[in-house]
């Protein structure tokens, strides 16, 4: 199979089978990195980094060069022509005419999707704000697979700043897709956002359990567990007994401990850094003496600060420098595939742990905007051509998910375009929670951010407008 001209904006752009195939190719690249220089000759990769990065950017560039390709790069382009007020769509179109593939990191969430929409060449997301960083996820996965052969049925603990880490958000869905059990171990105030947990429990086949109670057991202090996502891949009948199931899972040992640093740069500016740092859980030799960590892979996307001590660097369980090193073969494989320089055979069985859902799409001029200020759809330079667009992921309560940044919102008022077309008197809006509202077909749905917005568009309140 040929993945040429595909994008990698989110980890979901690749099926499980495609990921497996990519990893087989990465094995080839890792075995003979210096013998790949014929693969991408004459091809040019544009590496566009609107946020600083050395590791990710240089591994992409080194990878492309080892494939025989060439690189043009623009770094810290905040100060550049984009600052003159240019849209990223314009930039994407122009660079798509110079380069054969684009790698982009951008502080706006959803920016990579816009670039992919306009570039006309394959686009790889190298991080868009707090949204996704799918190639990091690939490296993380590849590391686990190299050490444990499979992700299915493994117990993987996510540790630290689960609120802001984009690597963690991409990773979690991928872990669920591949059938892992996930233990959530956040620092205080840095819990996994609700919308991530909700999505996990609706779109994947396992079960999510909150377990705050268990935290009070003294022996768990070092291990600040908060929730657990139980894979359906390993047979257990403990779903109704959360305490017990967690104990059982832990007793069996943690297969991988995925540590993240405090994402200072993404904190609200009012939060005291010292405050956050104080309570941040540290992974050190002492913690890893626990018997649940006997065979644990200690992982970290790097850069690390203080949350993972240097004393562990020589420990055979430490995987973080390997993870970084695997960045090159994994990205080489990805570049070669998207540039059509290599074909792969996709294994048969696919995505067995995902529930495939085709959500209806909502896209109208009705005043509903993504609530995420950092979303690409809310930027001054981009509103000139981007219309907000959402997936309707739930009707009860009404929940829209932004197609750019995946943030969710709960608009309060709706109307139907059907009624509107018949009689002007019936041009009315209703509470989104009303039984009436639930009956409107998705394709007829008009959604308002507020009553004011509804009225501005000449709708009047129905008897279902306030409940």
């Amino acid at each position: 199979m040929n993945l040429a001209n595909r994008n990698l904006v989110t980890i979901d752009d690749l099926s499980n089978g495609e990921i497996e195939a990519l990893f087989s190719l990465a094995d080839e690249m890792a075995n003979s990195p210096n013998e790949q220089s014929g693969l991408c000759q004459g091809k040019i990769m544009a590496s566009l980094f609107f946020e600083p990065s050395t590791r990710t950017r240089l591994s992409f560039e080194a990878g492309m060069l080892r494939l025989g390709g060439r690189v043009i790069s623009a770094v810290d382009i905040g100060a550049s022509s984009l600052a003159k007020g240019e849209s990223i769509a314009d930039m994407a179109k122009v660079l798509g005419s110079y380069a054969d593939i684009i790698v982009i990191r951008h502080p706006w969430e959803g920016a990579a999707r816009v670039v992919a929409d306009y570039a006309g060449v394959p686009v790889i997301n190298a991080g868009d704000g707090s949204h996704e960083h799918p190639t990091q996820t690939l490296c993380d996965f590849y590391t686990i697979r190299k050490e444990r052969q499979t992700v299915k049925g493994l117990r993987i603990a996510l540790w630290g700043d689960l609120k802001h880490g984009r690597t963690v958000h991409s990773l979690i869905y991928a872990l669920a897709r591949f059938g892992a059990t996930i233990l959530f171990c956040p620092g205080p105030g840095l819990e996994m956002p609700e919308h991530v947990l909700r999505r996990l429990s609706t779109e994947y086949k396992g079960e999510l359990q909150r377990c705050r109670d268990l935290n009070q057991e003294p022996e768990r202090r070092l291990f600040p567990i908060d929730a657990i996502y139980m894979t359906p891949s390993s047979p257990h009948q403990l779903a109704m007994l959360p305490d017990i199931s967690i104990r059982v899972e832990l007793k069996a040992g943690v297969d991988a401990l995925y540590v993240t640093r405090l994402q200072k740069e993404r904190q609200a500016p009012t939060v005291e850094e010292q405050e956050l740092k104080k309570g941040y859980p540290v992974v050190d030799k002492k913690l890893l003496k626990g018997k649940e960590f006997k065979k644990t892979l200690v992982m970290h996307p790097l850069p690390r600060v203080d949350e993972l001590t240097h004393e562990l660097d020589a420990d055979p369980r430490s995987m973080y420098f390997k993870q970084a090193a695997y960045g090159m073969p994994v990205r080489m494989a990805l570049l070669a595939l998207l540039l059509g320089a290599k074909e792969v055979t996709i294994p048969e069985e696919e995505d067995s742990f995902v529930r495939k859902i085709d959500y209806p799409v909502y896209k109208r001029d009705s005043g509903v905007k993504c609530p995420n200020r950092n979303c690409v759809s809310n930027q001054e330079t981009e509103v000139r051509y981007i219309k907000p667009e959402f997936k309707i992921v739930s009707r009860e309560p009404l929940t829209l998910r932004c197609v750019y940044c995946d943030h969710e919102l709960h608009p309060r008022y709706v109307a139907s375009s059907e009624w509107h077309q018949r009689k002007l008197e019936s041009k009315k809006y209703h509470s989104a929670d009303s039984h009436f509202a639930w009956k409107i077909n998705p394709e007829n749905l008009i959604i308002f951010a507020s009553e004011k917005e509804a009225q501005a568009q000449q709708f009047k309140p129905s008897s279902y407008a306030r409940q």
Copy 2:
């Protein structure tokens, strides 16, 4: 013919025939961009950008790489060794010993000429302040030629910020050289500088007409015409009737509408940005409904902001993304030629619309300085070795044109070196406007910025000193 070791500092460094030959080569490059990788193997291009740029820099770099060459680049070098107080001449000499060709963008006007004077390898000006940006002009021209086969006799409207846009200044002389008729459509307060208009009317063979009166006709409001340069290439006898000639030209339709953005970063800091933006003319669907635009090529050097709406992007008349895309083959052709990797045949007929004038050069230690603060000849680090140098482009009134930045000045006092050499009593200075002054041979002319300057050099006022 071989263009090896030539520079491209100003568009006038290439004759019309050379430009045509370069375009033929660009056609070759455009047809098979991936088959040129043998041309510049082993050659290194240094890309030195003292001002931010992604488009221009990356198109040069991508072009050089597609030619099989290599690139070293320094971006945003304001903070670098130049900030340690180094002159650009020193930088040029050193980099000329590492690279085979240099591409430079610099905020100082005339900087590219200095680099060309010292580098010892070919130098391409990628923009020097508000002065010139000749490769942009080549891309613009190439786009017109691709769509209309020739520039000769076309009616081309320049639109927006005609005061600061360097792309526009390079473009206008080139248009005149190739025999286009030019319509000037500036935003309020952003008219083409007088010196550009004067030069156009003296050095090219067409005629310039101001046409403020016509603006009062209400149907022209959308099209803020200000002046017109009438090419001699199309026969018309309307020169004495400016109103009519403009109407005739417009009736025949506009062949290309060249839109530019407001160059905020080059405005005087006192000017209110909001004020400027308010009156800035916008090109949108509505404007382009006018029948004079039926077949108009809509062009823009990009980046655009609000002056050209996104709704036009899919319009077949929109050329701006093509213009940007042509940047690569055009620059590839240019690099290949200046590196001597390709020879071309120069067509016979040349520059027929330029009056060739050899102005005398003025270069003395007499206190005359370029009035342009942003000129390279006025910079602290450069005065150590640069002497001001001017072309005497007119004696009545006395007009000097800076050889570095093309700005003009009108010194008030002169003396003759001939008299001086004979008798000390006759060491006198005169008003530059006096009959006496006009008789001094250019090679004997001593020019003073002020009486004070003349007196400081021991000259005394003659009876012609004050008029």
Copy 3:
């Protein structure tokens, strides 16, 4: 011989013979720079510049590209992931897995050594703070060798800012090693640091003489000599008569005048720049008219500011642009050697002017820290894993030299680990100047920065503690 996998952190990492062999290879590179493109094919150089540089960085990059290799580069990475609090050791380990060789410039003294310790691939120091810049030294040396065949016995004057110039510190030891006579001509307040002079007089075979008296002779005003290091390579018996020996040396002429600029950016912020600039000695045509300069090579590492006038650029004695140009072949040779792409024959006779001294190493948790704030061992992000480490270069007075930055310190208190192991009562500390202290074997030595530190570690003052 094969230099593959060696580092170049300090000029002392190469023996005299290795330097000679490298220069022979540089000759080859200089003769046919465009025929080396087979040497480093498939190899990747990472160019990591934490401080701005164009000259050094671009000469490395151009050199690597001419060798057929590829380059990934990160410039001005202050703002990048390192700002997120990452250690340079982590960065080194990761980049060592992407690149085959690393070139690093960093503002911290000793940073290049740390990178070399962790990268796992060859590392070249392209400047670490005010510490060393060994490839500049190689270029300087190569220039002298090209013009004078040998350095041995030459009289070389170092001129200007001898206090901060890292190029000068690397250069001076190299000059001494090769048997040059060195004349010190500092600007006022910019004398060579004491520790450099001390090291010169203890570790090399020549003799150092201070000669402030001579400065009062009026004819020397233009030539602000301050000290002289007399090589043992040329026979003279004047060591006891400093005045005479300097006169004799000068009479014989200066072979090379090595000018440096005022290192403004490394001055203490309290020092008035204008003050420093005023007294800074300038090298111009007038100075060079002196007959001692008749055949002098005028050298400068560039960038220059005002200390070396442009009027000398065309003078055949001026070598500074040659020096810069030689940067490419010298660095090409170095890269080819460290990457194992070339083997060389090392000449027999080696380092004859160095006294080989194996200083004992001191590395204990006893509170002794490097006094240099800018040393890598004192940085917040690095103390997590770096332990201070020193060479004991003298016992009388006790002098430690930091292995990272070469700064020296004179701790006042010591103890012996031997006594400590026997009886707790004898766990006592002593003045470092006491006879008792001198008798402690280096391997038993415990050194304290202060009495407080000693007491904090449960040592009590002995009768030798205060003298």
